[in-house]
């Protein structure tokens, strides 16, 4: 573990990107921040700009219109960062696998841009807040073994 991954795993700042999701995963992510689940216990904090973010929380099956914007967010994010694909849509497109306007999933877009970007999959429709926290903690623990 180097100091960069140590820093991220201690207080991951989250930036939320909706790429066409149905709101379910989004409200569960916001739920994680409110008193009952409270990820600020782990140093997690929702920030307003990708330039401050350590973890991009991506939801949705990547619609045609949001893909170029998402690529710009990836370029704008301060490196190193990791991408967390929250929800079945973001992991594998789920029930929108044959929709004409969905060209995801998230991993496909990040791989086309840069194969080095680490993508965490948190499946569920929607994942419960517990699952989101569990996924994040698992991912951040794995980070300790990766050199960013």
């Amino acid at each position: 573990m180097n100091w960069k991954s140590w820093g991220i795993s201690k207080s991951p700042w989250l930036y939320h990107v909706n790429t066409g999701s149905c709101n379910n995963c989004d409200i569960e992510i916001v739920d994680c921040l409110t008193p009952k689940f409270d990820v600020e216990r782990f140093g997690g904090k929702l920030v307003g700009s990708p330039r401050h973010a350590d973890v991009l929380m991506v939801t949705g099956p990547m619609t045609r219109k949001s893909k170029p914007r998402f690529e710009r967010i990836l370029e704008a994010s301060a490196k190193p960062f990791i991408v967390a694909a929250v929800g079945t849509c973001a992991c594998s497109k789920g029930m929108f696998h044959d929709a004409y306007n969905c060209i995801g999933p998230v991993r496909k877009v990040t791989e086309a841009l840069d194969e080095e970007i680490m993508v965490l999959n948190i499946p569920g429709c929607p994942p419960r807040p517990e699952a989101i926290i569990d996924g994040l903690v698992t991912g951040l623990n794995q980070l300790k073994e990766v050199k960013l």
């Binding site: 045609r64 219109k65 004409y100």
Partner: protein, 152 residues
Amino acid sequence: MNPSTFKEKLSGRFGWKLGKAKQNSDRLYLNPEPEIFENLVEAIFEDHDGRLATISCVDEENQFRLLYHFVFDGEGFITTVKLPVERDENPSTESIANLIPGAEWIEREIMEMFGIDFQNNPAKKRLLKADSLGDKDFPYRKDFDVENLEEN
């Protein structure tokens, strides 16, 4: 007021041009002659306080059909006015957004998804469709080729 009394009121004004109607206890479907369409919509909206719920567009392969759904909130019934639109190179019809401002977004959506031109719509700009789809791609048409769509 219920669907049958409402239909009587309308046929008192428009006569045979109101066309064939279908009704049950809380739905009324009208097939008016296209020439009276605008006056009919105006009468429903202005004189009878119908609220435009939405416009559905149905692709019937040989033509399009626009369904203007008006809800009568206090009375508890829904009237649907059907208007066929010829399916040629440039299908078009007259906009009602200048009469009912709420129709503007609905018409813009149909313009993008079905390619029906609403003449005199006040804001003919792209609202929904992705930038990577062309001006001649109309996703909700039945003959839209989903399989060979470019992946970007």
